[in-house]
């Protein structure tokens, strides 16, 4: 029954984006990529591999007005992309008026979509001619759809004008996006450049190039968990209190740096789900770590778990690189008279929180210096991702893409 003998880990980053021609704002393009930092230059012709659609020089350069990120699988991202590209044919989209009745027949969906847009059915044409507003409407609908609404998605707006349209639409629409879906204002929408070192997924980064598209965000978590599970003898599930065997079981480790909570996948999920009072749910969104009491994002833990269990090699590679980097850092810090010698060892538990609220002192302290370091990291990352995980490079050019439906 397990068809995936080697299932892929949850990608570090995958997003769908709405590309807009800076020359002609009516020209829009919807794509998906695990690495927008690399993808955007492709569209702009700086790098090879851009989509045909975006190849016309007249329309270049393109800008990513917004990205929908947080997809947990390439398949999911592609499905979302396709649905967004073909709203009239997607089974997840109804007319905006029929907000939630997703599973209607496609014919109905088409009719409604057409009725709404007032455009003929011919999809490709309709798609290209779609207005920004229409795309945002579709996006809104998709994010509300039963299928996607439970996904851990975030919408990041880089362009202020696009966000305005979005807001306008939100005001017109009766229904709201589910709370799960975070809307992040970024780029133009924020007056001041965000903290580049912010590790929170939800924090604005200010620029597409600042997006963290690799596992760097999780490396601390990963390091901690691997360190802990190396010697699992004294560990026990925080839920069922039984000993855990990481080699045989799916063990979830709390992402909180200071928390040593470990638990069985099923135990923790059951606990978190029970807390939500939604018995129908199978996958929790977030919950309270039974060990440390902090709120933990399910996706975060799953991402780490899948990476640790399914891509052990890559995980170790990531950790090795981190070690190098940390050594560099420490060296630099030592040079700069800041004593960071201890950083290498205690790090797993104490350092580099993955979440904002934790904001350990170390991080604050380093913050100042880290700018320079950050640049290095960025270079490092941009180069590395392909080597780290096979998934990373692939982008979707939907011109030839098959229908997901």
């Amino acid at each position: 029954m397990e068809e995936f003998e080697k299932p892929k880990p949850i990608p570090a980053y995958y997003c769908c984006y709405l590309l807009r021609s800076t020359v002609r704002h009516a020209s829009l393009y919807i794509g998906s990529t695990p690495n927008p930092i690399r993808r955007l230059p492709q569209h702009n012709g700086v790098a090879k591999g851009g989509a045909k659609r975006t190849a016309r020089d007249k329309l270049r350069p393109w800008e990513m007005t917004l990205v929908v990120e947080g997809f947990t699988s390439r398949v999911g991202a592609l499905q979302f992309e396709w649905a967004w590209q073909h709203p009239e044919r997607s089974r997840h989209l109804d007319s905006d008026d029929d907000l939630d009745s997703k599973p209607q027949a496609k014919a109905n969906a088409n009719a409604n979509a057409n009725a709404k847009t007032g455009k003929p059915k011919s999809k490709p044409r309709a798609r290209t001619r779609r207005s920004l507003m229409a795309h945002l409407e579709d996006l809104h609908s998709l994010l509300r759809s039963t299928y996607f609404s439970s996904w851990p998605l975030r919408v990041r707006f880089f362009c202020a004008d696009v966000y305005r349209v979005w807001r306008a639409w939100n005001d017109r629409v009766d229904s709201r996006l589910p709370d799960k879906i975070k809307v992040i204002l970024d780029g133009d929408n924020i007056a001041t450049a965000p903290d580049a070192n912010q590790r929170d997924e939800h924090a604005p980064v200010g620029n597409i190039n600042n997006l963290s598209v690799d596992y760097t965000r999780f490396e601390d978590h990963l390091e901690k968990s691997m360190f802990m599970l190396d010697d699992p003898d004294d560990l026990q599930c925080t839920v069922c209190k039984e000993s855990i065997s990481p080699n045989e079981e799916q063990i979830v480790v709390c992402p909180h740096p200071n928390c040593r909570g470990t638990s069985h996948l099923l135990c923790l999920s059951t606990t978190l789900l029970d807390a939500t009072n939604e018995l129908d749910l199978l996958v929790p969104t977030q919950g309270t770590c039974p060990s440390c009491g902090n709120t933990v994002q399910w996706v975060t833990m799953m991402r780490e778990l899948s990476l640790r269990n399914r891509a052990e090699k890559e995980a170790r590679t990531i950790l090795r690189k981190k070690e190098k980097r940390v050594r560099k850092e420490s060296a630099a810090m030592e040079e700069s008279s800041v004593p960071r010698s201890s950083s290498t060892e205690p790090r797993p538990l104490l350092e580099e929180p993955t979440q904002d609220d934790l904001g350990p002192n170390w991080f604050e302290g380093v913050d100042i210096e880290s700018d320079s370091d950050f640049e290095g990291r960025q270079k490092h990352r941009s180069i590395q991702p392909p080597s780290k995980l096979e998934i990373v490079i692939e982008d979707s050019d939907w011109d030839d893409a098959e229908l997901i439906e």
Binding site: V75, P103, Y147, F148
Partner: protein, 883 residues
């Protein structure tokens, strides 16, 4: 057919055969007849009959008979004498021979009727007959003799002993005698006479007959007789005066005629007679009785007159000699004494017994000593023996022992499935016993006979052994010996059903030996022999033996049957849950894999799982359905009763009829009631009646158990928890133990929900039993709900899917095993945001997942997709999974 008439020439042969025969005759006519009687003799017998008549005429007649025209000419002669119509028929018939010949034979028979007077000995008859036949028409006589007379004539010869016995005995004797004498005669005839053609034809036909043999039609027989009578009326009238002999002769003719029309191919040739004629002979007896009554009428005197003559002879000669199918069958496997040169199949037990009385006693002693086994060895041997019960026809049909065994095994295997394990020792044993019997009845085969007829060493059991019996019982009157011997020994050994079974089958000897005396084995053989012809014996000694039987069976019934059952392979194979605890881990894992499960980690878990599997597979009522079982059993008993009622009635009716027919039968009925349930169906009507009754009663007695077995099969499905339920149960326990609180939450829901759907559906599917049976507590209330729910399939199914997904991890052995990490459960996959491949997931749901929650419906990928999307679970088609 004229050739057949020519065969009459055989009569000439009879004389020559006699010389060789004399040795046999010396001992007893019967004895001769029996050994010779085998297949070929019948024709010969006919010839024999005719022979005496024709001898003087042999040569003339044969010539005529050999050539069709000649035959025609003969009939013409007759015609002139008799009816023109008959003549015409005969003339036309010349090619057709036999019927015409029969008719002619009838005429001859009439002639013979006058002759038959000498009845006392076949030889005498022969002598008489020829004279008479000569006087009237040689050709006619010969013809008739060929066809019909053969069997009958032999009878006459055999009559000497047979006459002593009842008419039925006569029949058997006749058949026996005829073959024995005939064989040598025929050979001689063939060689000497030109008749070879006819003979050849006969052989072929005989072979066919054997192959195609089916029990004869009584009605047809009579009709034919009547017809013959008409033709022969004139002659008959003449012959009326002759009385017994005349009747005998006429009977021969008559019977021959009857046989010919039916079985022209079969009996006329003479080989057929072994089987069919005998059967017919049985009918003739009745007719003979009638004839005796009607003897006045010319028609009967001619055609039937012979019959009565035969019976008389038979009565004198041998009481029991009914050639029952069983007797014949057994006879085939029992070799006559080495003395008897002819390996002929037919050695009727009676003959044996008679001979045995005189000679066999000595022989038997010798043989018995050599063959007797120690009690232990005998028991073992007996245990090893396979029993097959069935009518002779069934036994005859059946193929090689291999196939039989295989079928038996298959049946057992199937039964094993249905069997409850060893819930109650008594019950189970009874059940098994009944079942085995039932099976055995169904699958009758010659094999068993073969087996039964043989010693431990594989040598045929020889009739001589009977003598030994006599010796043991020596105190008893010689006249009763045969009967008494048979019955008494049988009674002794026949304590329980088991013996009864053996009684029918011949297998008994092995058991008996150990129990009492070495001689007992001999007794068994006797039983075998005599068993076919119980009636006469019953009449004679029934009372005494009956008492014995009645007393013993009661005791033995309970104990013995069980043992017997156990001894049989089926019982041993009865489904008992293997002792998994005794298995090694490797074996356990293997077992588990055989059930299609993946390796489970803990030994205890493996054992539990295996037990669950086994129960679900074999449907043991014991463990899972502790509550429902008692009820279920009671129900079973109830139903059986109804069935019993149905069954026994007809048998009872039969019993009554049989009682009327024969005084002895009543006693036997008692016996049969008590003791012998498993009589073979093969026996002829008269014989069968008592035994059938016994069967009916026996079945009635055991019927409850037997029925129970069947019901169990039916009911098992329902009673036994579905695999899903079992799994559920298992999972629940497991969850409680392992996951504790969290597991309970879901599991409880599941428990309440799951049972409902399955029972409802099953009930719908299942027929009566389900309705009767009180459903388990939970299901009842829920069933209605579940039914209503089914309407709302999608919502319901989605809930079921959810439950299934939640259940899987706990249930699956993977959880504790290494598989969990490398091969996550569906729930784990979902939790880890793995894209769910719809095809695989659906397959799992349909094969396992929904079973976990007792959901019988299947889901399609579409509905599964709906479910996934409603849950926000990323799903995709297989082709897209590689994205």
């Amino acid at each position: 057919m004229a050739s057949m008439a020519d065969v009459i020439i055989l009569s000439s042969s009879p004389h020559p055969p006699r010389p060789p025969g004399p040795s046999r005759h010396d001992a007893n006519p019967v004895s001769h007849a029996l050994p010779r009687g085998a297949t070929p003799p019948p024709v010969r017998s006919t010839s024999d009959l005719s022979q005496p008549h024709t001898r003087s005429r042999f040569f003339p007649t044969p010539v005529a008979s050999n050539k069709c025209p000649d035959g025609a000419s003969k009939p013409k002669n007759r015609l002139t004498k008799k009816d023109p119509a008959s003549e015409t028929i005969k003339q036309t018939a010349p090619s057709k021979p036999r019927r015409k010949a029969k008719k002619v034979a009838d005429t001859l028979g009439t002639i013979a009727l006058g002759e038959p007077q000498p009845e006392p000995v076949g030889t005498k008859n022969d002598a008489m007959k020829p004279t008479k036949s000569r006087s009237r028409s040689n050709a006619k006589c010969k013809d008739s003799g060929n066809m019909t007379l053969a069997g009958k004539v032999t009878k006459t010869s055999g009559d000497l002993p047979a006459k002593k016995s009842s008419k039925g005995g006569k029949k058997t004797v006749a058949t026996k005698l005829s073959p024995s004498e005939d064989t040598p005669e025929k050979f001689t005839l063939k060689g000497s006479n030109a008749l070879g053609k006819a003979e050849v034809l006969d052989l072929d036909e005989a072979m066919r007959r054997r192959m195609d043999w089916t029990p004869p039609r009584e009605t047809a027989y009579e009709e034919i007789a009547t017809v013959n009578d008409r033709d022969s009326q004139h002659k008959n009238r003449d012959s009326k005066c002759t009385g017994g002999f005349g009747k005998l002769v006429s009977d021969y003719n008559y019977s021959g005629s009857a046989l010919n029309p039916r079985d022209l191919v079969q009996n006329a040739n003479g080989e057929g007679p072994t089987k069919r004629r005998r059967i017919e002979l049985v009918n003739p007896e009745i007719q003979a009785l009638l004839n005796g009554r009607y003897s006045d009428s010319s028609d009967q005197s001619s055609g039937q007159g012979e019959n009565p003559g035969k019976p008389k002879k038979t009565t004198k000669g041998k009481p029991k000699k009914f050639t029952t199918l069983t007797a014949r069958m057994t006879a085939q496997y029992s070799t006559n004494d080495a003395e008897e040169d002819e390996p002929v199949i037919d050695c009727l037990p009676d003959i044996k017994t008679k001979k045995g009385r005189q000679k066999r006693a000595k022989e038997t002693e010798k043989q018995s000593s050599s063959t007797i086994l120690s009690p232990e060895a005998a028991v073992e041997f007996l245990n090893d023996q396979d029993l097959i019960f069935g009518s002779c026809s069934q036994l005859e049909k059946d193929d090689s022992p291999q196939t039989l065994r295989e079928t038996q095994q298959a049946i057992r295997a199937s039964e094993d499935l249905s069997y409850p394990k060893g819930t109650h020792n008594n019950d189970s044993s009874v059940l098994q016993e009944s079942s085995t019997r039932f099976v055995s009845k169904l699958a009758g085969t010659r094999n068993l006979w073969c087996v039964g007829a043989r010693d431990t060493e594989g040598s045929l059991i020889q009739p001589k052994t009977l003598n030994v019996v006599d010796l043991t019982d020596g105190g008893e009157s010689p006249g009763k010996k045969s009967q008494d011997n048979v019955e008494k020994p049988s009674h002794k050994p026949l304590q329980g059903d088991w013996y009864e079974l053996e009684f029918a089958d011949i297998d008994s000897p092995s058991e008996k030996r150990p129990s009492s005396l070495p001689t007992e084995r001999v007794l068994d053989s006797d039983m075998q022999v005599q068993a076919p012809a119980p009636i006469p014996a019953a009449t004679a000694t029934a009372t005494a033996t009956a008492v014995v039987k009645a007393a013993k069976p009661a005791k033995g019934a309970n104990k013995v049957p069980t043992e017997a059952v156990e001894s049989q392979p089926t019982s041993s194979q009865a489904p008992s849950m293997p002792q998994y605890t005794g298995f090694t881990d490797a074996e356990l894992s293997k077992q588990i894999s055989s059930y299609g499960f993946k390796a489970v980690r803990g030994r205890k878990k493996m054992i539990d799982l295996l037990q669950q599997c086994w129960e679900s597979k074999h449907g043991s009522g014991s463990n899972a359905t502790s509550d429902s079982q008692p009820i279920y059993q009671t129900e079973q008993h109830k139903e059986p009763v109804s069935k019993i009622d149905n069954v026994p009635k007809p048998t009872a009716a039969k019993t009554k009829a049989t009682v009327k027919t024969k005084s002895g039968t009543c006693i036997k009925n008692r016996k049969s009631l008590d003791a012998t349930p498993s009589t073979s169906a093969s026996r002829t009507n008269l014989q069968t009646s008592p035994k059938k009754t016994s069967k009916g009663k026996a079945t009635a007695g055991t019927s409850t158990s037997f029925i129970n077995v069947e019901e169990i099969q039916d009911s098992e499905e329902e009673i036994i928890p579905s695999p899903s339920q079992v799994q559920k149960h298992y999972t629940d326990i497991y969850l409680k133990s392992k996951t504790g609180s969290r597991g309970q939450h879901h599991s409880l829901d599941i428990l309440t929900k799951t049972p409902s759907p399955s029972p409802t559906k099953r009930k719908v599917v299942s027929s009566d039993i389900s309705a009767k049976r009180p459903p388990s507590s939970a299901p009842i209330a829920t069933t209605h709900i579940a039914e209503s729910i089914e309407e709302i399939s999608l919502a319901d199914i989605s809930a079921q899917i959810t439950q299934a997904v939640r259940l899987q991890p706990r249930l699956s052995p993977l959880l504790s095993s290494r598989g969990s990490r490398s091969r996550p459960t569906w729930h784990e996959k979902i939790l880890m945001y793995d894209p769910i491949v719809l095809e695989d997931f659906t397959a799992w749901l349909n094969t396992e997942g929904l079973g976990l929650v007792g959901e019988d419906r299947e889901v399609g990928t579409a509905s599964v997709r709906e479910w996934c999307e409603s849950k926000g679970i990323c799903c995709c088609w297989k082709k897209n999974a590689s994205w």
